[in-house]
């Protein structure tokens, strides 16, 4: 039973994949934007942080679900 719970938690965390890709794309575009327009640095940084926070949230949900699986189902 405990083994299955661990596997379930592991599968739940696989969703963090999406968050990682999202933040990666956002950062790459932000770097491009800064390279093109260095004077808009502050605004781009702000938007990047906002986008990253929203993208990261999905990964965080996966983590919270995984922790909950372990905490609630642990026999």
């Amino acid at each position: 039973m405990n083994g299955l719970v661990a596997i379930g938690a592991g599968i739940a965390v696989l969703g963090a994949f999406g968050g990682g890709i999202g933040i990666g794309i956002a950062t790459s575009k932000a770097v491009e934007a800064v390279a093109r327009q260095p004077e808009a640095d502050g605004k781009i940084m702000k938007n990047l942080i906002l986008g990253s926070a929203l993208a990261e949230a999905t990964a965080i949900y996966c983590f919270v679900i995984a922790v909950m699986i372990i905490m609630m189902l642990k026999g």
Binding site: L50, A53, E56, A57, Y61, F63, V64, V67
Partner: protein, 231 residues
Amino acid sequence: MEEKVKELIEALECETVFTIPIGNGIPVKESTVVTWIIMAFFVIIAIILTNRLRTTGIGKKQAVTELIVTKLFGLVEGMVGEEGKDYVPYLVTVMLYLGVSNIIGIFGFKPPTKDLNVTLALAVMSIMLVQIAGIRAKGVKGWLKSFTQPIAIVTPFNILDLFTRPLSLCMRLFGNVLGAFVIMELIETMVTKAALPALFSLYFDLFDGLLQAYVFVFLTSLYIKEAIETE
């Protein structure tokens, strides 16, 4: 291994420190007590810094105080906009509280934001403030009408937003702090207690904690800005 897992789970749980003997007894959780400590810290700092303020011939202490307040207010006002000036003090307060409570793990306390109830309360407070700001700016009629903007068909989604926004605010903060806490505990109990944790603590406790405080306030002010927008 078993013992270490047990230790980890024990660190995750929020213990009851003491019980107020009224009725069936009101349990006071650890997060509440740590919050009191943070409150005491801020109150003492505020008393020290605002002691003997004057308008002419300011001292060094007052100059520093004014610098901190103007910088923080300017930062938040840049996010919430000119019309949302009334809400800046609340947002700055939340930012200071979250900033300190996220990094308090360094000093050996359990961060209060690791407790889901704390982050949930903060998120509910934020979303209520957003709605009140909407009512204040547009009136009850305008506020109700704003649910049908931009077109009538999105009304259910706008109402759903009332619940998903605080949920995402609460879960984001909770998950980040919990994640940092778990990783730090894992490094400390399973790997080493030497120099390595200090290095990771710099990222997970300091950087991530402050960033999350900023993100929480940023999102709240974004919602307020959206709510008070009048066309």
